[in-house]
Amino acid sequence: MNMILTSTVNGLVLSAIYILVALGFGLQLSIMGIFNFAHGAVYMIGAYVTYGLSVALGLNQWVSLLISVILVGASGLLLEKFCFRPFQSKPTHMIVMAIALIMILETAVEVTLGGVTRALPAFVPGIFKAGSISVDNERVLAFAIGAVLLAALTFLIQKTKIGQQMLAVAQDAEGAALQGIDTHRIAATATVIACATAALSGSLMATIFSMNPFMGDNILLKAIQVVILSGIGSIGGVLVGGLIMGFLNAFLPVLINASVGEVITILIVLGILLIRPKGLFGYELF
């Protein structure tokens, strides 16, 4: 019973984080047509900036988190302008650029701070109790922040003018330019949103699990699986795909073991793709 409860909570937390990271990855894919494989490295940098400010410099941890989200988010402007825009119509160049970014960021952290695994202290230390249920506060916090952010992003994309413009560019970039939409500005907005949410997700995960310079590799694979599973360019799909991935990754390691769990997860994703090649939702739910 206790195992089921713990895994369910973990499933919810993992789902929220996977969904946030996958949404950023998917936004960049559908708006700029690029596979930003460096998205996981950005997530790792977010965690390290928060760690550096709070643990090394002694700032308040919430303030550190805020600064990390703003700094990493703003760096999205540079990423879009200098790393993505020049390669938007050259997919092979873009892959090399993304791999270079991963290596530069991971190596920079490893060389300066070492490859050791660290822990980011909890934002709200303690245990959350409700009746017979007790969960550590960090997980409740991660899930709550994830859910609120997700709701906010969904609102932004579906109900605001800039959100509709993002969808328009994703569906037909030239058609959007002919409506007067500045496609570069939209691409920059998407990259900033993606980087900021990745920094936040990385910091939250670093308090629950741990952090090292290569923590982004794993989450990148999860994000790619979620996006492929849901169908490219579908928010509703990413929600469902993220929940499936989150729960598989919470339960399988406990029920079987971690490595076999990874394999089974991939097999399940492949199985779904065999039945629905366009992913669970294709493009329709956006």
Partner: protein, 235 residues
Amino acid sequence: MLLRVSNLTVHYGKAVALENVSMEVAEGSVVTLVGANGAGKTTLLRAMSGLIPATSGGIWFRDRKINGLQAPKIVEMGLVHIPQGRRLFPYLTVMSNLQLGASLRNDKVAVKQDLDNVFQHFPRLYERRNQKAGTLSGGEQQMVAIGRGLMAAPKLLLMDEPSLGLAPLMVAELVPVIKYINERGISVLLVEQNVSLALGVASQGYALQVGRIVLEGDIEKFKTSEVVKTAYLGR
């Protein structure tokens, strides 16, 4: 002159797509540009709306040189392009598509007024306002494309083959639509392969053949021209 193209040359890679093309659209007029497939009609419109660069020559809109400007800047000046194949946002609703046409406008009251006008003129779109644009019929999609163009409050509307892929009955409906647009004070440059439609609404015409203007002037001249008859009307 509302729009003036002077000695425009455009290349696609090394191939010449347009060579020394000059043309004009007067304020308040409907001008047509006819020509066979591959003559360069779409290329000319794409150069006008800033989607492709010109090799040499110039395009002036409301006495300002516009070649070299970004596409959104040109839309802002009032030159609006309804592209070939419509290029709607298929997974967004009809309503969203229309509102996106007004992306650069901040005058909410006037935008609302224009939206009402579009719905009044195309009641079918009002019925389908919450439907995704990609699920509409070809004729309805063309109405959305025209409505979206009107939402930008254009001074000059470039229409690229609005009849493409439409049933003959729908093609006939385009004539009153273009006349209505023109009556509202919007000038129109109509690119068409359907020459009988083009000749029915335009007052001036230009004919393109492999990148050059081969005939220009009053529309009456086109109706009797042997060039037009043999090349485009199949008579």
